[in-house]
């Protein structure tokens, strides 16, 4: 890689700016993300700053199971962010809707609205787990730059169905499992 490429990569690794978006969460994750900025966990020493406007941010931290009213707004915020952008979905709600899965006003999980790069486990995840997630996201950024964009790791949307050989019992499709 040329010198300027390496310099650009170094700079992107050293100053990830995050912006926080609460998509209908119980705000436990939000206060943990804000606790990350305060003296005990202080992320400014890694160059992480919390920016107000999505225009200035690189990483979008989404908390909560996306409620139906917040989904279009989450989509618009994600589209407003300038390229090399990454999304961290916080906690169990971000991954699958968590304890609110299946409720009538909730779109389970951030995955159904915007493509997500890093999931953080926990309800709420501890501040040091959040810092670990940002570091993992930076690792992902490093690999993406090496492979030139995210195409290499996005799994294909359609999952082909494996035709079972006869004799082996076909597992019932999830819908058939009695509720």
């Amino acid at each position: 890689m040329t010198l300027s490429q390496r310099l650009a990569n170094w700079a992107r690794m050293k100053s990830p700016w995050i912006t926080l978006f609460n998509s209908g969460a119980c705000n436990a994750c939000d206060i943990e993300v804000i606790a990350v900025l305060t003296p005990r966990f202080d992320v400014e020493r890694f160059g992480i700053l919390a920016k107000g406007s999505p225009r200035h941010a690189d990483i979008l931290v989404v908390t909560g199971p996306v409620t139906r009213k917040q989904a279009p707004r989450l989509r618009r915020i994600w589209e407003q962010m300038p390229e090399p952008k990454y999304v961290i979905a916080m906690g169990a709600c971000g991954a699958s809707g968590g304890v609110f899965r299946g409720l009538y006003h909730v779109v389970d999980g951030v995955e159904n609205v915007i493509p997500v790069d890093v999931f953080v486990a926990g309800c709420p995840p501890r501040p040091d787990e959040i810092i670990n997630a940002v570091v993992a996201c930076l690792g992902l950024l490093k690999e993406d730059l090496a492979h030139g964009g995210k195409a290499w790791r996005t799994k294909p949307k359609v999952i082909e169905r494996v035709v079972p050989t006869e004799g082996t019992p076909v597992p019932p499709k999830p819908a058939e499992v009695p509720a």
């Binding site: 100053s15 202080d42 400014e44 020493r45 160059g47 107000g52 406007s53 225009r55 300038p82 090399p84």
Partner: protein, 323 residues
């Protein structure tokens, strides 16, 4: 001075490259001091440089129906204005480009970034940006008068409109900060307001109107505007250091030429750091005041203090001349 030395002066040493490095160093120091005062660790040394390079690499987003060329040109104009202002401030010894009235030119060039901010707010077709831009101009009307008065009183006392002459005058007299304490305080507060830092960062009030005029800036435009703010912080503190704290000259003359340059630069370095320390502690110790409160503070206290200072200087001039 022949052309090559002048080119080196403008481009290399106290000019373009040195100013960039010094601006990054100032931003690092500012963030480190305020972080330590808030009992946090604070950013690493190369953080401002990393932020700048990262912002350069980001995608540039143009809002629909925006005048692209003007939006691109505005940050460059602001940066250029502030950088030329730095050439007239004496750093090492006397600045070779000094002429009678360069103080007025420097003050004018320092106000250009605020007008550019207003322009950016207006061009970016965003309600937050417009209100931020209108607030930036309102704030400029308020602090500009006392700030100019406070910076012009040294010229009155030293009897010349060139910064280099004022610095030379202070070589033989007391420092102007001692002779004009009120002017010094008003200048510091005005500088804090010009750089839109916390007690006066009303246009960019992050928690009220997202990011004010900065909202629609992305990629290299944002990088240039951040750089403009850092450079204007360096130029502002260098100006206050030169006018009130005696600048880089020492009362007794040092024989070998290069040694006096080094001593001059060391003095400049220490004095600008002192000003930065004061600015950073003001930023940490106070919250943001509203635009109408700034109006009261600006006109009631700052303006009257500046006028009183001018009166005192005129009286002192009268007695010295007659005595």
């Amino acid at each position: 001075m022949d052309a090559i030395l002048l080119a080196v002066y403008i481009l290399l040493f106290p000019g373009f490259l040195f100013l960039l490095a010094y601006a990054f160093f100032f931003q690092f120091l500012d963030r480190k001091i305020s972080a330590r005062m808030q009992n946090r660790v604070g950013p690493p040394f190369l953080q401002p440089f990393a932020d700048f390079v990262k912002m350069l690499g980001k995608e540039v987003i143009d809002v629909k129906g925006m005048d692209r060329k003007a939006f691109d040109a505005a940050p460059i104009l602001a940066l250029a204005a502030v950088m030329t202002a730095f050439l007239y401030v004496p750093i090492v010894g006397n600045s070779p480009l000094a002429f009678q009235g360069d103080l007025i030119l420097v003050l004018y060039l320092l106000t250009l970034p605020t007008i550019v901010l207003f322009l950016l707010g207006w061009l970016s077709r965003n309600v937050f940006a417009t209100i931020g831009g209108v607030r930036a101009v309102t704030q400029m009307f308020i602090y500009e008068v006392p700030f100019f008065l406070a910076l012009l009183t040294p010229a009155l006392m030293a009897g010349s409109w060139s910064i280099t002459d004022i610095v030379a005058w202070q070589q033989s007299h007391l420092w102007l900060a001692v002779l004009q304490p009120i002017g010094f305080v008003v200048a510091l507060i005005g500088l804090q307001a010009k750089l839109e830092r916390t007690p006066f960062d009303i246009p960019e009030a992050e928690t009220e109107i997202v990011a004010g005029p900065w909202t629609e800036l992305t990629g290299r435009r944002l990088a240039l505007m951040h750089l403009t703010l850092d450079v204007s912080m360096v130029v502002g503190s260098a100006l206050v250091a030169a006018l009130f704290l005696g600048g880089p000259l020492v009362p007794w003359t040092i024989t070998p030429d290069w040694l006096s340059w080094i001593v001059g630069f060391a003095l400049f370095f220490v004095k600008t750091l002192g000003v930065l320390l004061v600015l950073a502690s003001i930023k940490v110790a106070t919250g943001r005041i509203r635009i109408d409160q700034l109006n009261d503070v600006g006109w009631k206290y700052l303006a009257t203090a500046a006028i009183v200072q001018v009166m005192i200087v005129l009286l002192m001039n009268y007695w010295w001349v007659s005595a």
